[in-house]
């Protein structure tokens, strides 16, 4: 299981399809990796079963992060990654539950995932439901409707991870609608709330596994396009697709970073 390969696949899919949102997908890759590697019990054996943990990627535009993660964990045939966002493809730009097993909810319109997750958590109290959403996405009022009810119902198997990269459609989230106080907001709504470095795998793992007596929110501070120097914190990578040269540079930066770690 290689996180570097997941990120390479995200980049490659954005490259050949000319699709947008590569920065958003890279931003969420570490979070999804830790969820599938350490927290959610989802295996090739139980993938088609309703009786298992669930993962909802509410920021559906980061779909390539989920597709690549599923493929890396043997939950999706790797060759499907070659059929994203193209004529006759299998994997759409935004998530379609009916496209492949392992997509637990369709997504692409923001602010649905937490409510869906609440319903799933209530339906199967024995299983955990992980919802990954963006920080810009918390501007949707429905997020707070779900947040209030999840706390009122003391739902113990719902875990929200906010991929807080501080960039959205038109600029920085702190310029458009400052949400620097997300921790305080979720706490005030009655959630067990933890700040995190969204690229610190060990910290994410510990927080995801921490026992909970009610709904849990991890506010994961992330970097859009993390680990790729020309992409980091750049709004244009919400839209642009990397060309051949940019792809090569990204690969070599990811390889160098991995080498540095294993030394």
């Amino acid at each position: 299981m290689s996180l570097t390969d997941i990120k390479k696949n995200i980049l490659r899919m954005a490259h050949y399809s000319y699709a947008s949102h590569v920065g958003s997908a890279i931003s969420a890759a570490d979070i999804l990796y830790v969820i599938y590697a350490k927290a959610a019990n989802i295996t090739p054996q139980n993938i088609k079963s309703a009786d298992r943990d669930k993962v909802i990627l509410s920021k559906g535009h980061a779909s390539t992060a989920l597709y690549s993660t599923l493929a890396e964990f043997g939950l999706l045939p790797k060759e499907y990654l070659d059929r994203y966002y193209i004529d006759g493809g299998i994997l759409p730009g935004h998530l379609d539950k009916d496209s492949v097993a392992g997509i637990d909810a369709s997504a692409g319109s923001l602010g649905h995932g937490l409510s869906l997750g609440l319903g799933m958590a209530l339906a199967k109290p024995k299983y955990k439901v992980f919802v990954v959403q963006g920080d810009g996405e918390t501007q949707e009022g429905s997020v707070w409707e779900a947040a209030a009810l999840a706390a009122a119902l003391k739902v113990k198997n719902l875990i929200l991870v906010i991929d807080a990269n501080n960039l959205q459609g038109f600029g920085t989230t702190s310029d458009i609608m400052p949400l620097d106080t997300l921790e305080a907001k979720f706490k005030a709504f009655g959630w067990e709330t933890y700040p995190a470095d969204g690229h610190d795998l060990k910290q994410l793992e510990d927080l995801l596994l921490k026992p909970q007596n009610g709904p849990k929110a991890i506010i994961a501070r992330t970097v859009k396009g993390h680990g790729i120097s020309y992409m980091e914190n750049q709004l244009k990578w919400h839209y642009k697709s990397p060309n051949e040269e940019e792809l090569k540079q990204a690969y070599s930066e990811l390889d160098a970073a991995e080498k540095g770690k294993t030394k």
């Binding site: 559906g60 759409p92 369709s106 692409g108 810009g136 009022g141």
Partner: protein
């Protein structure tokens, strides 16, 4: 078309200081000219569509003319009840501008497709519904919309639409090609497809009439009745569900008229697209491609 919309709105905003532009954080690389020239009249409301619409209604209730711009599902479906109560019921001068008609967003997937917007906007009392198919229509409709009383929905395509040189009159179909054999009525982003089909018929020596239904509400009933009375076969073409859009509007005129009509509706047959591909690719799978073949078959059957 979205750039033509914005350019025209900027021209109007120079003349009319009540015009506002609001976006729930969409329209990057489109809306900037307005935002730069009129920063005090541009509001990025964040990713929050319901608040955007109701806030726009509040502005309108106090004399402003707000345009709310987003991708169609997020402009129309997400805040539908706010539109119903705050725009339609209170009859406020809110202009809802949705980009990405029909399958324009192709491989992005069904969350971004717009196959229901004409239906749900048409059912709202007081709502005027526009669906321009060309750049000249877009300009005329944007200019018209500024002084219109009551709420307006404007369905925009995306980019690359044709430009014709006729003037557009709100509420009346535009004649794009004169003809006498049969009538093709197209709306929104299917106007170009229908235009190319009509040209093919002209090459065969036939005389198709091509009308653009850029206004779905109020609907040009008189024109439909006059075609039916002449015994002209009528074909409607839309990238929308067959329920509630152009085909429905035409049927609503024909059925109570008591006239016998020859009518072929070309539309999406009440399905979501789970097909992945470009707009053209999905069209082939949803029965919107090969218009000429469909129309040929219909005309032969008469």
């Amino acid at each position: 078309m979205r750039n033509t919309f914005l350019k025209t709105l900027v021209e109007e905003a120079r003349k009319n200081k009540d015009i506002f532009l609001i976006t729930p954080d969409l329209g990057y690389a489109v809306l900037e000219p307005f935002a730069q020239e009129f920063p005090e009249r541009f509001i990025n409301a964040g990713i929050a569509e319901q608040n955007s619409i109701s806030m726009a209604a509040g502005l309108a209730l106090n004399g402003k003319i707000p345009y709310v711009y987003s991708i169609i599902p997020f402009a129309v479906s997400r805040p539908y009840e706010q539109i119903k109560v705050d725009c339609a019921y209170m009859n406020t001068n809110v202009r809802i501008v949705g980009v990405g008609a029909g399958l324009s967003y192709g491989p992005a997937g069904a969350t971004h497709h717009a196959l229901d917007d004409l239906a749900i906007m048409r059912t709202l009392p007081n709502m005027t519904v526009f669906a321009p198919g060309s750049l000249n229509e877009t300009e005329d409709i944007v200019r018209y919309s500024v002084s219109h009383k009551g709420p307006v929905y404007m369905r925009l395509a995306k980019r690359g639409e044709p430009r014709f040189n006729y003037k557009t009159q709100a509420g009346k179909f535009s004649t794009v090609i004169e003809g006498t054999d049969f009538a093709i009525i197209a709306t929104s982003n299917m106007l170009e497809d229908a235009y190319n089909t009509a040209l093919q018929y002209q090459k065969e020596g036939k005389s198709p009439l091509l009308l653009s239904a850029h206004t779905l509400k109020p609907f040009d009933k008189e024109k439909i009745l006059s075609l039916i009375r002449k015994g002209m076969p009528v074909i409607t073409v839309e990238e929308h569900n067959i329920i509630g859009g152009l085909a429905s509007a035409v049927s609503e005129v024909i059925a109570p008229s008591g006239l016998a009509a020859k009518f072929l509706p070309v539309a999406v047959n009440d399905v979501f697209s789970h097909i992945i591909g470009s707009r053209k690719y999905i069209q082939e799978h949803l029965g919107l491609a090969n218009l000429k073949k469909k129309i040929d078959k219909f005309l032969v059957s008469l």
